[in-house]
Amino acid sequence: MELINELRFNNRMYLTKDQRHTLATYQSTLQFFAHDLCKTDTPNDRAFNNFNFIKKSFVYVITETVAEYPYPYLTEKTWKAINYKVPFLMIGGKDSLYQLRKFGFKTFDAWWDESYDSLNTAADRIDSVVGILKDLSKRPNQELYDIRVAMEDILLYNKKHIANVFTNEIEKLKEL
């Protein structure tokens, strides 16, 4: 077998014509942006160890390391959302939420449609997630606040469960 010369970070997200148009229209308008609440000066994720600003928003949109993969690829970005007790929408590999539920975590299908998790392409999953955001944006702040309060049990459960999951993982590694 010969080595494959790979193209890294390519844009093959299986975009439809409309999706390519969206990218072409807005891509050039994305400029470096560091929100006052969210300094990004430090070149690694430790910059976000103080994540209090996250509590000022209703939902956390996780943009995982990869999204094109046909299966989940979970990193610290996901664990942070759980650890910080915030509801989240997942932009990651197909079936990421399914994998989290397999770990025993609870997700948020009581409040929005999570069928996006099983859509086949990253771009379709992203469209669906942004559609959920669009729907949420039409609701009054008080309603969003009430939903967040109603989610507290799940958020707390997940926060406690993450320690169990990681402890179990340690035990599995010992058995290798």
Binding site: F33, F53, T63, A163
Partner: protein, 177 residues
């Protein structure tokens, strides 16, 4: 607790690690990978020896005509080239589903990596030093979406958010131009 140190300790106590091949540390430098694997070509492996293959690549299945991970293809190619015995390979990954790829690769290369374990724990991650407010007092923004490295799906996400007129409703960061 920094989990990857706990994992390192477990693996170091359990095995004699001859080589640690992390896809990120090698940064797709196949000459270096070839060189390091070649150093073990004539080595007589002992029962407790292990080569750890850590797969956390982000190469997006590119340019690979059977739809699989190009890094994995190249890793197999090099390991087989030097006839590294597969019983001394342990593949760790946070790709939940990589086992399907491994099955295909094993068949394609006729080289069976059978010790495959998916775990979220073997890279740096803090869990218990979080200082964060417990309760929300108000909702000031619809969402938070923080990004560091530029990636196609992140760019498309922000484009879609802009298209839907939601860009100013969230806390967004990104570090690319």
């Amino acid at each position: 607790m920094l989990f990857h140190k706990a994992v390192d300790k477990i693996l170091s106590n359990k095995f004699n690690i001859k080589l640690y091949i992390d896809s990120i540390h090698y940064d797709y430098d196949y000459d270096r990978l070839d060189n390091d694997v070649r150093a073990l070509a004539d080595y007589e492996f002992q029962p407790n020896d292990i080569i750890i293959l850590a797969i956390q690549d982000t190469c997006f299945y590119s340019n690979c005509n059977y739809g699989l991970n190009a890094y994995l293809h190249n890793l197999y190619t090099i390991l087989k080239k030097y006839d590294i015995p597969t019983e001394f390979l342990l593949l760790l990954s946070n790709h939940y589903g990589i086992d399907k790829e491994i099955e295909t690769m094993n068949s394609l290369f006729m080289y069976d990596i059978i010790r495959v374990h998916c775990t979220p724990l073997w890279y740096d991650f803090f869990i218990d030093d979080i200082d964060i407010e417990d309760n929300i007092s108000s909702i000031d923004y619809l969402y938070t979406c923080v990004n560091n490295t530029s990636r196609a799906h992140r760019e498309y996400t922000l484009c879609k958010i802009k298209e839907e007129g939601l860009y100013d409703e969230g806390i967004i960061s990104h570090r690319w131009n």
